[in-house]
Amino acid sequence: MIDVLYFAWVRERIGLPKEQVETTAATVADLVAELKLREERYAAAFEDISALRVAVDQELCDFDTPLAGAREVAFFPPMTGG
């Protein structure tokens, strides 16, 4: 089980900020592929992956990052701090 978090418009499109996901996905990209198959709102949120950023266990990383041992994956648009 992995905690999957969504922020900003990703959260709004999917309609929830956080959920627990039962997955055997090897990488972030695999997890995205699984989520997209779930429902239209997931497919919409993950439609253009280049518009998204991902953090595994609160560290920014790439979509090909392995999920072995990961507890938390977060998806969000490019950050706008400052």
Partner: protein, 147 residues
């Protein structure tokens, strides 16, 4: 070397005064303050800043640690707010203290450049016409290249 992520407003004058007066090794203090600006149309009701509790603090601490490694800093301070902010409210501030002005200036710019694109904050602007997420600027991503 201090990072604060908070919903409450901060007192810029008191923070800057306190930061500058507690320095004993640094003759140069630089401060940057970001303020909510109205839209071009002048119809901004509010800005809502969402963040990623936990990662926000660790991302800011990592950016701060990198600045301390790269420049001769005696002290640093990052304060960033989240939640609802109205026009003219202060969003965030950074402060740096160094023996020489070049270090204080460059470190403050570095903190700002990284904080813009690598700290998990997202801004949404609310006007009478609705709400829109603020889009990240290519120029902000490009700014990271120079470091």
């Amino acid at each position: 070397m201090t990072v604060r992520v908070q919903q409450a407003a901060f007192d810029l004058g008191a923070e800057v005064q306190d930061f500058a007066t507690r320095q004993t090794q640094a003759g140069a203090v630089v401060n940057f303050t970001g303020i909510v600006r109205d839209t071009a149309a002048g119809d901004l009701d509010r800005m809502e800043i969402e963040h990623y509790p936990g990662m926000t603090e660790s991302a800011l601490a990592a950016i701060d640690a990198e600045a301390i490694k790269r420049w001769e800093l005696k002290d640093s301070l990052i304060i960033h707010r989240f939640g609802i902010l109205r026009p003219n409210e202060m969003i965030m501030m950074v402060a740096t203290a160094a023996p020489h002005r070049v270090d204080a200036f460059e470190a403050a710019q570095y903190l700002m450049d990284y904080l813009k694109s690598r700290a998990p904050f997202w801004k949404k602007e609310f006007t009478k016409d609705g709400a829109e997420w603020v889009e990240a600027k290519l120029a902000d991503e490009d700014a990271l290249q120079k470091w």
